[in-house]
């Protein structure tokens, strides 16, 4: 039986990245020191599918839309991009989602800017849209609806929207829009070209469905929105909603039944689950982890998508919550670390005051560099491994601000972590500002890039050897990554001192 509504994306999205979420980021770069096919194999291997081409695990946002459509009685399913030809006869609507359709988001845009080469995610998506099966679908009159976190990027690619016959862009949370759009498409009524879901139209917790199939690497949402109001971020402009524990557990069960080996708790700030404003409360956090860990058992991995550094510091200093969580609940002989993404963004108090005043709350913004270092120390002591971001080129940034960031990165040297640079992308309340591109790089930015590179190279091998790739079947991957790191190290050493000139060439 074919599906009427097919949800899909290109391979860089439809992959479990070898069960290692962080490897997915490799798809944000161009292939360096190896052929594109090998780079793709490293970043985004194919996933297991059933006879209909339905992947065992698929991106979480697409799983939500699939669930809404199926709950509404539609014949809809997520299909792997290599298998959509099986549904060409039945398909009436093709729905696409992506984190970074055209590589305009961070960090793709800065790898592109630095190397001058198109990132893999963009190449892969363009290849998919130009593929015979998508072209054939369009010729047959299939409606194409695009959405997901990178929907905004289509506004910069209106010619491609016309060329590929994209009917509708949905920008924002799709749960309350998608059924109506699909009904209109099936009735052959005019579709809107663009839908932006404002704060008043986002779904309430009762309107957010439980996923029907497994999500990539067991990712499960525990909250939506964020109260911190950082000006460069779009998530923070959405209302804050806590997903009820029973729904979280139901989704964990869906993932376990599909045979997944871990769970990732997703939130902009996991420690703020049922918090008192920005102050974490031990009871809901401990209960959440106790119940989730009971479900996933001793052998499956656990990760957090994001946490704020201020919440880590506050939780530990006031409630010993981090050490309690890690030592009493999370860590065991199978689970030897917990990975998470965190945002440093800047080491400059002046800049922090301007763009992310509440990121340090409940601590004063003047304390931001100390909050960062304290949180890194707490995480290091408790085997939480952060992948941190730093934004270069924030509007209003001065050389002194960048120097403050470099100083902070140097203070973080003793703490196990990786630090990734991001070039400023105009989003959130700062969306009217200019993009930061390699032409804007100054000497101090090169120094900051080198400081982050040195920090990351220093810790990456330790993380790979002791924590990240501990299984024997990871050996080829580990070898490939070591080769890549060795290549980068050699190139950086070779050209050190001339980097500014080379990047700007």
């Amino acid at each position: 039986m074919g599906y009427e509504i097919v949800l899909t994306s290109d391979r860089t999205m439809m992959s479990n990245h070898h069960g290692k979420e962080f490897l997915g980021f490799i798809a944000t770069g161009p292939p360096i020191a190896m052929p594109e096919s090998l780079w793709m194999m490293l970043a985004a291997p194919k996933v297991k599918v059933d006879d209909a081409g339905r992947p065992r695990e698929a991106p979480y946002g697409m799983r939500k839309i699939e669930a809404v459509l199926r709950d509404a009685g539609f014949n809809a399913a997520i299909i792997d991009p290599d298998h959509i030809d099986k549904h060409l006869d039945s398909m009436k609507i093709l729905m696409l989602s992506h984190h970074d359709y055209f590589a305009y988001g961070p960090p793709s845009s800065e790898w592109w800017s630095i190397t001058g080469m198109e990132p893999i995610n963009r190449r892969s998506f363009i290849r998919f849209m130009n593929s015979p099966v998508v072209r054939k679908a369009k010729e047959k009159g299939v409606k194409i609806i695009v959405g997901g976190p990178a929907a905004w990027q289509w506004l910069y690619e209106l010619e491609l929207m016309d060329k590929w016959g994209v009917d509708t862009i949905v920008d924002g949370e799709g749960e309350k829009v998608v059924v109506e759009l699909v009904e209109k498409a099936l009735r052959n009524e005019p579709l809107p070209r663009y839908v932006y879901v404002g704060a008043g139209d986002v779904p309430g917790v009762n309107e957010i469905p439980v996923i029907k199939g497994a999500s990539v690497n067991g990712l499960v949402e525990i909250m939506r929105g964020c109260p911190r109001g950082c000006r460069f971020c779009s998530v923070t402009l959405r209302p804050l909603r806590f997903i009820p524990l029973e729904k979280i557990l139901a989704e964990i069960d869906v993932n376990i039944r599909s045979g997944l080996k871990g769970a990732i708790l997703h939130s902009e700030d996991v420690l703020l689950y049922h918090a008192d404003g920005v102050k974490p409360r031990p009871d809901p956090i401990l209960r959440l982890h106790r119940e989730v860990l009971e479900r996933i058992g001793e052998k499956r991995s656990l990760a957090w998508s994001h946490v704020s550094l201020a919440a880590v510091k506050y939780a530990e200093e006031n409630h010993k919550l981090i050490s309690k969580l890690m030592n009493e609940l999370v860590l065991n002989e199978h689970r030897r670390f917990l990975g998470v993404e965190v945002g440093i963004e800047t080491g400059s108090v002046k800049l922090a005051h301007e763009i992310m005043r509440a990121k340090s709350s409940p601590y004063p913004v003047e304390e931001w560099p100390n909050v960062v270092e304290d949180a890194f120390r707490i995480m290091h002591e408790n085997k939480i491994i952060p992948a941190a971001t730093v934004i270069l080129g924030i509007p209003g940034e001065t050389p002194d601000d960048v120097m403050k960031t470099i100083e902070l990165i140097e203070r973080l040297k003793p703490y196990r972590s990786i630090i990734v640079p991001m070039f400023f992308v105009p989003m959130g309340a700062l969306k009217h500002n200019a993009w930061f591109l390699r032409d804007h790089l100054k000497h101090e930015h090169i120094d900051a890039l080198l400081a982050m590179y040195n920090h990351t190279i220093y810790w990456a091998e330790d993380i790979m050897n002791k924590f990240y790739f501990s299984e024997p079947y990871h050996a080829p991957l580990k070898l490939l990554l070591k080769y890549f790191m060795g290549y980068v190290r050699k190139q950086v050493n070779r050209y050190a001192g001339r980097l500014e000139e080379i990047i700007k060439k």
């Binding site: 506004l155 829009v177 663009y194 008043g200």
Partner: protein, 116 residues
Amino acid sequence: MISECGKSLTVLVDSVDSNVEELKNIILRYAMKSGGRRITLILHKEARTRPLELIKDSILNNHVYSLIIYELESRGEALELLEKHVCNDSILVLTTRDNLEELLRRLDGKVLFEVV
């Protein structure tokens, strides 16, 4: 959400080559008056106004208002869509002096007109 009634503003842009900045200001003025948080724009290609090109820089896309933009092939299709619109919410037509009389006849008295 797309066809939901209640405190929404629907705007038909029927004036040729409209200045998007000017449109934006008029639309927001009426949106504030309507007190709602949802704006539906109906455009047609004969009017040669492509706000999608500017929407990325527009304050309409400001995370407060939900925005629904239709871009139809012809003026006839755009008018047909507006006539099918079942809500009695605020409806605004931005048109030229030449088209005003015809539209006043065709659309009933619930519609607000602004000549641009």
